[in-house]
Amino acid sequence: MNEVTDILQRGWGLLGFASSEIAYVYIGSLLVALLCVIYGLLSWKEAVKAAFRRSRRPRRVRRVKKGKRPRRR
């Protein structure tokens, strides 16, 4: 990990920036966009699952009570 940090910081700072603060906000912007993507994908997945469950629900079957004959039409 130290070697990786050294490579990134050769005289210029993290990711070539002079200030670490800039590097952190650069990475932070990407991460917060990733947060939006993950949130959106999770909610999309929930919607797909809910739609799938609705389509799998069995249809209602009308039961005939004992002792009663079905009505003739």
Binding site: S29, V32, A33, G40, A47
Partner: protein
């Protein structure tokens, strides 16, 4: 070659889009029809990142001056303006809007607090200031036309204004759903290519940043004294440029994205909450690509201009940050990118301006005239159309009178005014049943009043233009005569929103605690389905 390709592509674009707009036109019968616009994930998120159109040229140019420090704006715009706005405010707004039958930003405020004054006042504020934001977008396109077609700025400006009016006459103010989706994809591709090509020219991401760090000695002495230490070094804390960047651009715009009237109107128009959740994905990526790329490419233009033309970006642009990105596209990017960029920016701007004019018209017609003054729906329809026309005229006039480097400042002004006036009563109104009508009015009027007082007497940028302080006290602003080393002198660079926002929240809470609560039945209706 560039000029001819630009002309051919733009003419083709105008013909195709004009035809599509004509085919897609539907009558705007009622004020409600005028407000309800396209639905769908792409449209919702695309218009949710309304700021993108001002970001591409205006904020990209500002970033060329201020450096990578402005990336904080991108961070806040995604976190606050997309994630927090859609997840924590979007759903509540939609549910409350359904319960109160509200269709506009001003209407949901008015209905929530049972106050025609709030609805009318909010409507007037939105109607009065939204042309300023529209002008920022208009100026960006005009600068692009100026550079791409080598015409004087007023010619480019008026040409685009006429084109805009023509599109509105042919197609109306309701957009065509599938064209807005195509526009979004074009802009996405355009910005992705801009980012990739810039880093490619500079040898990669890290080498590009290293090269920009290396040219820090090229920062002009005047800017160095004002706080610019290099485009990758951040601004010197407490310096004038630091205050301008952080208080106006980053804080004002970043927080103001939460309470944008067009965005709240889109929440109310969303067909479901799932649509809001999915829009977080599209909006987050779209905002990163549009604003993030603008704020990244902006500073990097300094290296390429320095290498090819021997000057940094602001010098190449003659001191006008609004010309930096158009000049970069015209002189550094390959010839085939220019037409793509033109079409992308034209598309984004037309869609954004159409939305802004619609919101302006409804604010005047439905919210102020129809509801607040009590003239009802019929009178509201006529005044909505009057409001749209007035919004268009005001936008064009502002675009003609605003000074150079105005896009970022005008955008920050509008976002700051919205935050100062509406953020407290909007946010607290969604989460706290204890906000009263008096508290809402106090926060809105107090926030806006504080903002204006600060602009007139303290904030150097507006006080100099308004001249009221000069007339009354013989000085540009009340702190200009202090020694430049004192903290008081730096106050003139502090944006009004820094002072007005806490005042607005404080007034809302304090006055609400001391005044009569809204009826329980009304509050139950407002919060029906919320918090369960």
């Amino acid at each position: 070659m560039r000029l001819y390709s630009n002309i051919i592509v733009v003419v083709l674009y105008i013909i195709v889009m004009g035809y599509l707009a004509y085919r897609g036109r539907k009558g705007n019968g009622t004020a409600s029809d005028s407000m309800i616009a396209e639905r769908g994930v792409f449209s919702l998120a695309y218009e949710g990142s309304l700021i993108g159109t001002a970001a591409i040229i205006g904020f990209g140019g500002a970033a060329a001056l201020f450096g990578f420090s402005l990336l904080w704006l991108n961070f806040l715009a995604i976190l606050v303006g997309i994630f927090i706005a859609f997840v924590f405010f979007g759903k509540r707004t939609r549910r409350m809007g359904i319960a109160l039958h509200a269709q506009s930003f001003s209407e949901i405020l008015g209905e929530r607090y049972q106050s025609r004054f709030i609805q009318g006042f909010a409507g007037m504020v939105v109607f009065a200031f939204i042309p300023l934001f529209g002008a920022a977008i208009l100026i960006g396109v005009a600068r692009l036309i100026e550079v791409s077609f080598h015409v004087p700025y007023p010619v480019g400006f008026l040409a685009f204004a006429l084109l805009l009016i023509l599109f509105i006459i042919i197609g109306g103010l309701k957009g065509v759903r599938y064209t807005d989706t195509v526009h979004g994809l074009v802009i996405f591709a355009m910005m992705a290519i801009l980012c990739f090509w810039t880093y490619h020219l500079l040898g990669g991401i890290v080498p590009a940043h290293q090269a920009l760090t290396s040219i820090a000695p090229l920062v002009p002495e005047r800017l160095a004294d004002a706080g610019l230490q290099g485009w990758t070094a951040g601004l010197r804390w407490g310096s004038p440029l630091w205050w301008i960047a952080w208080s106006s651009l980053i804080y004002g715009v970043g927080i103001g994205t939460l309470v944008q009237p067009p965005l709240v109107a889109r929440f109310l128009a969303a067909s479901s909450e799932r649509e809001l959740d999915r829009a977080v994905l599209v909006g987050g990526v779209f905002m990163l690509v549009v604003m993030g790329v603008s704020l990244t490419v902006g500073p990097l233009t300094n290296i390429l201009f320095a290498q090819r033309l021997g000057e940094i970006s602001i010098a190449v642009a003659g001191g006008n940050t609004d010309k930096i990105i158009p000049l970069y596209v015209d002189r550094v990017m390959p010839w085939w990118f220019g037409p793509l960029f033109l079409v992308g920016v034209l598309s984004a701007s037309l869609a954004a301006l159409r939305l802004l004019f619609r919101v302006g018209g409804v604010s005047l017609g439905r919210d102020f005239y129809g509801k607040a003054l009590g003239f009802g729906e019929e009178g509201g329809i006529v005044f909505t159309r009057v409001g749209m026309v007035l919004s268009i005229v005001a936008t064009v006039l502002w675009g003609l009178v605003l000074p150079p480097s105005a896009i970022a400042r005008a955008t920050a002004f509008f976002f700051g005014v919205c935050a100062a006036a509406f953020l407290s009563l909007y946010c607290l109104g969604l989460y706290w049943k204890g906000v009263t009508k008096a508290g809402g009015i106090a926060s809105m009027v107090g926030g806006l009043g504080t903002s204006f007082l600060w602009m007139i007497f303290f904030h150097g940028q507006e006080s100099a233009i308004l001249g009221i302080c000069q007339v009354l006290f013989g000085t540009a602003n009340l702190v200009a005569d202090f020694p430049s080393t004192s903290w008081a002198w730096h106050v003139q660079y502090v944006d009004p929103v820094v002072i007005a926002l806490p005042v607005s929240f404080a007034l809302c809470i304090i006055v609400s605690r001391k005044t009569r609560k809204l009826p329980k039945s009304h509050l139950d209706r407002c919060f029906k389905g919320i918090g369960k």
